[in-house]
Point group: C2
Chain length 285, copies 2
């Protein structure tokens, strides 16, 4: 490729830290990557944080995280997402109750609830003409969910880049209508997930969680239908080593996966998602 298009960062030899960060993510030797910088280092060092110090966020930090979130792509610039920042202790406690009694939600100085928001576009479109039909379709719901997710991921990476930590809270979907009532959501707005943010209590810190070997998730030109048995077995061994080190319950990854999807009971109420969304105004045609 022409040198002209290469920024300086990519031309300099990637430091040993790069290969280290990559090998920590997969617990396997990694070749030095073709580029390295603070953005990659921040992402590769990601770990979910569920223990927070009782310190507040600095003035302006919430707005900075939202600016990062808004800088993410959004389908056709429709911006079909919103976020509710919850900082009042009592409200965090009530939301924690709705989200599997997870204590860290109350402990974190900031709970962000990320919303797929079709209400705003409904309102704006209706002010100009007839009520829109398009937002009644599953497609619009998918766009709202994806928009919210892209924004949220930017916010979390931004938070991590300044030394904050956080964790996604999927359990915010356990009781969608109750969460909507607590947050005063109008119809056609869905809390996709929460995100607890704060200063990590490093005393309770965990290591970077190993992920599947990249050849399991990365397909070239076409999908390889069968997951590679040896790669999966290797990952199970890696993850058992991680569980042992972190003092977690040791269990095969595939057993964990199977347990999460084996039957309706494993969904912990989320089997009601379609009915809940219908009650909240999503026709999902």
């Amino acid at each position: 490729m022409p040198d002209a298009v290469l920024p300086a960062a990519i031309l300099s030899a990637a430091p040993a830290a790069a290969a280290d960060a990559l090998s920590r993510r997969h617990r396997a030797p990694a070749a030095p990557p073709p580029a390295w910088n603070d953005v990659l280092a921040t992402m590769l060092a990601h770990r979910s944080v569920r223990h927070f110090l009782p310190a507040p966020l600095p003035e302006g930090m919430l707005e900075l995280l939202v600016a990062a979130a808004q800088s993410a792509s959004t389908s056709s610039n429709l911006q079909l997402w919103s976020v509710v920042a919850v900082q009042e202790r009592a409200r965090k406690a009530r939301l924690a109750q709705l989200a599997g009694q997870q204590g860290f939600i109350e402990q974190a100085p900031l709970l962000l609830v990320w919303l797929a928001d079709l209400h705003r576009i409904d309102t704006l479109a209706t002010a100009r003409g007839p009520a829109p039909e398009g937002t009644q379709y599953l497609e619009a719901f998918i766009v709202g969910v994806v928009d919210a997710a892209l924004a949220a991921q930017n916010a979390l990476t931004a938070a991590e880049s300044v030394g904050l930590g956080g964790v996604y809270v999927g359990a915010m979907r356990n009781h969608p209508e109750h969460v909507a009532a607590e947050l005063g959501l109008p119809p056609h707005v869905f809390a996709v997930f929460g995100m607890a943010i704060g200063w990590p209590d490093t005393a309770a810190g965990s290591d970077v969680k190993p992920r599947l070997p990249h050849e399991v998730v990365l397909h070239r030109e076409q999908y390889r239908a069968a997951p590679d048995a040896a790669a999966i077995a290797g990952y199970e061994a890696t993850l058992r080593g991680f569980q042992r080190e972190q003092g977690m319950r040791e269990i095969d990854w595939t057993a964990q996966c199977a347990a999460r999807v084996q039957d309706v009971a494993a969904l912990r109420g989320r089997e009601r998602m379609r009915a809940a969304l219908a009650a909240m105004g999503f026709a999902l045609r």
Copy 2:
């Protein structure tokens, strides 16, 4: 907050570049943020790139982007996503045809197609016991879509951090079954969106696109139901200024939004999404 938890980056005064980057995103004066670094600068500078130089990606870059993607959070570590990297010209051309004849898809050296992948967990769970029921629910589909989106956003930010550019391709959902056939997807795998990646042709570069004022998307404690009319009007004026500068067609943002959702025709075939997903094995109970 205790000094001990503050990394050096946050203690140093944020440079003027920070306020500049923030004000470019909103085309409004911005106060200096409480922290600034290369991660925030990369995100705030995001713009979608649709014109690429004919240079290939360096060896190992695809794997580096995937490592960044894998470092994103994933619900319960289930990793319900995969990605297909398409580099063969003929396949890119066929996918471009399926995705609204967008020429940049063929031009980009790399097309990533991000997948919500319930097939892998179905296969792994079935190897251990009965076929899982849980993946038949809308909840599992949402998890797959969110997992894919978080991974994709990391990959795009990673690409931008090394000087690459890219753009999401939502039109990959125009003909879901045809895309699935082209990529050899098994049942229960859905191409959520594509992403074209390459070296930006800076001669055709556009400026950072202004987003809604943060007070429109950021709610505190509870959702404010009515979008602020003055804030929306201000945004329309800002965006018209941007359109004029970039030589784009001038149109009110709310008119654009309304046009995208007003009726079934505006969905350009994506009103079939639910039927298409059913045909691809998603019961979405």
